[in-house]
């Protein structure tokens, strides 16, 4: 069993934010934080890049809209043109209604699948779950994980730094 990293538990969201920014100042980069609800400050501290998922949602929406409209157009113009009293085959106003709904559906599906895909979920096993102190919810704790892959990682030193930053517990996490 190799070591994956050190996980430190904090009682308060503010303590986690403070510790994360202090560790970043010390040069640590391979870090992750876990919290029962989103803490907005962590985004800048952990240098999380803005997600490109909105583009996926846009693409999904356009795909749903265009494909559905194309299907309708194909059916009324090419596959089964039906002349009813000389009315235009391409009567777009009703088609827009269906294409709009399909566009929303495509965008929502792209967003849902995209966020799971980008987050690597479903993933039922992750080293963080190996930590005995790590319980996502039970104690309402806030966790900072420093990975061994970080070039600055030294087990003893890092543990000391985390403890000095007010961690309630610091635990070694097996990979």
């Amino acid at each position: 069993m190799s070591l994956y990293g050190l996980i430190a538990a904090f009682a308060e969201p503010d303590a986690l934010v403070h510790a994360a920014s202090a560790m970043r100042d010390k040069g640590y980069r391979r870090m992750d934080a876990f919290s029962p609800f989103e803490i907005r400050e962590l985004e800048a501290i952990l240098a999380i890049r803005p997600t490109r998922l909105p583009w996926a949602v846009l693409a999904g929406g356009i795909a749903g809209l265009v494909l559905t409209y194309a299907l309708i157009l194909y059916s009324v113009e090419i596959d089964y043109p039906l002349n009813v009293g000389g009315r235009p085959l391409h009567s777009w106003p009703p088609f827009v209604v269906i294409a709009f709904e399909a566009g929303i559906l495509g965008a929502a599906l792209a967003g849902f699948v995209g966020v799971l895909w980008a987050n690597g979920l479903p993933r039922y096993h992750h080293p963080a779950f190996n930590a005995e102190t790590f319980s996502y919810a039970r104690g309402g704790k806030f966790y900072l994980l420093v990975e061994t892959a970080d070039p600055r990682f030294r087990k003893g030193v890092t543990r000391g730094q985390l403890t000095r930053l007010g961690a309630e517990t610091v635990e070694e996490v097996e990979a």
């Binding site: 876990f34 989103e38 997600t51 709904e101 966020v115 979920l121 963080a128 996502y136 919810a137």
Partner: protein, 454 residues
């Protein structure tokens, strides 16, 4: 100065002081301890009896045919259509609370959005039954889809029925995705709190390994807001399309441009009435009056009166345009609505949706739970009657007086209506038993933001 006084008078969104384990423990405890009061199961049993009534009625309807309903020439649209419009409308308040109030950053949505979304899902599930049952040959409903088949036919894209199918299906799927996405963090919380192996596996599999990573939260928030932004135009489009089912016919009383906005407002009115119908017993039964506070009840009641006024405007403008159009048929239809065969229902509808509703102007009534609950139930009834009156009064007083006629209601109409109501509440009971009815992570976030953490 006056403004702060007014703000000070409004009850707070969360009452008392909390800490995180306490919030998650209390909400999750309802699900995980499984010790629900006896009256919960008694009420569930009553609903379950109605589920059986629904199954029986549907079987009967499919076996014998739609002639067993009260519908009769020339009024061939009946309770199946009014049930459909009523249920789909009820769903809309859930989306409004979860999506629109999220985009408007209204903090009070946090403790009620979960069950409001569940309400949406179950209401849409109920609504989806009725157009299919109304088809007469419900086993051919898939003909509405553009599927390759030996008939080589396509759906009629220009028909509102096909738009309806697209709108309802999209609404159901998007509501489900949005709901499940909101559930993910709470499912992970239940997984970590579960004591039994079965519960750990159940919630663990559903939670998909969510671990609350900061990187995950960042993407999650962006997409969650985008889904809300998608749901907002969707919800408006769904009920507008439902109203187009009516307005595309030239039948007097159906053919009106006021219908889309008027239907959407009616949807919100009945939806908020249903939110209150569920929330008032829920907060009492599970003693979560400090999480679902009087502020929520007060705000929902205010939204009811706001949408109710738009509905009243809709009634007025419907009557005005019937007169202003100068068309004899439109005018006759409107007069017949008030004095004809369905006039009793029409006046009951006005009394419920316009009359009784005005009591909500009084703050004392809004903060009195039994009174508010009674008004919510009355508005629910009034809104069902409204849909029924719209559906039947047009065709019953068509262009030719020689073709006038009415329809009756049979036991089958009531069997399916009350069966669907029972099924809806049975699903709500199961939901409260299996999933957290209050969004844990958003309430914790709210407690943190409003400084109510002990």
């Amino acid at each position: 100065m006056a403004r702060t006084a007014a703000v000070g008078r409004a009850p707070p969104v969360l009452r008392g002081r909390h800490d995180f384990p306490e919030i998650s423990g209390r909400i999750a405890g309802v699900v995980l301890n499984g010790r629900l009061p006896r009256y919960f199961w008694a009420a569930f049993f009553l609903c379950f009896v109605l589920v059986l009534v629904l199954f029986y009625s549907i079987t009967y309807l499919v076996a014998i045919g739609v002639g067993k309903l009260g519908i009769d020439m020339p009024v061939v649209w009946g309770t199946m259509i009014s049930n459909f419009v009523w249920w789909i409308g009820i769903g809309h308040a859930g989306t409004l609370i979860s999506a629109v109030l999220l985009l408007l950053r209204q903090p009070w949505r946090a403790s009620i959005n979960r069950f409001a979304e569940a309400m949406t899902l179950f209401a849409v599930a109920m609504a989806g039954l009725f157009p299919i049952l109304h088809l007469g040959r419900p086993w051919f409903f898939y003909w509405l889809l553009p599927l390759p088949n030996t008939h080589m036919h396509w759906p009629q894209w220009r028909s509102p029925l096909v738009w309806d199918f697209a709108a309802i299906a999209t609404y159901a799927i998007v509501s489900l995705l949005f709901w499940f996405m909101g559930l993910l963090p709470d499912l992970a919380m239940l997984r970590d709190r579960a004591k039994t192996r079965g519960a750990q596996l159940f919630y663990g599999i559903l939670a998909m390994g969510w671990r609350g990573s900061a990187r995950h939260w960042a993407r999650y928030r962006v997409v969650y807001y985008l889904m809300a932004a998608l749901a907002t135009p969707l919800v408006v489009s769904v009920h507008s399309i439902v109203s187009l089912d009516f307005t595309f016919a030239i039948t007097p009383g159906y053919h009106s441009t006021i219908f889309p906005p008027y239907f959407v407002a009616g949807a919100l009115l009945s939806g908020f009435a249903m939110v209150l119908t569920i929330a008032i017993p829920l907060r009492w039964a599970f003693s979560v009056e400090d999480l679902i506070t009087l502020r929520h009840m007060d705000n929902a009641a205010k939204l009811m009166i706001a949408s109710g006024l738009i509905v009243a405007y809709g009634y007025a403008s419907e009557a005005f345009f019937a007169w202003y159009s100068g068309e004899a048929w439109e005018r006759t239809m409107m007069v017949q609505r008030a004095v004809g065969p369905y006039s009793t229902l029409f006046w009951i509808m006005l009394a419920c949706n316009v009359g009784v509703l005005q009591l909500l102007w009084l703050r004392r009534v809004r903060l009195n739970m039994p009174a508010l609950f009674a008004i919510a139930v009355i508005v629910n009834i009034g809104m069902w009657i409204e849909r029924y009156v719209i559906v039947v009064s047009g065709p019953s007083r068509d262009f030719l007086p020689s073709a006038w006629g009415d329809q009756s209601l049979t036991w089958l109409d009531f069997g399916i209506l009350f069966g669907s109501i029972g099924t809806f509440f049975a699903l709500i009971f199961l939901f409260v038993r299996i999933l957290p009815a209050i969004t844990i992570f958003e309430v914790e976030e709210l407690a943190e933001e409003t400084g109510r953490v002990a």
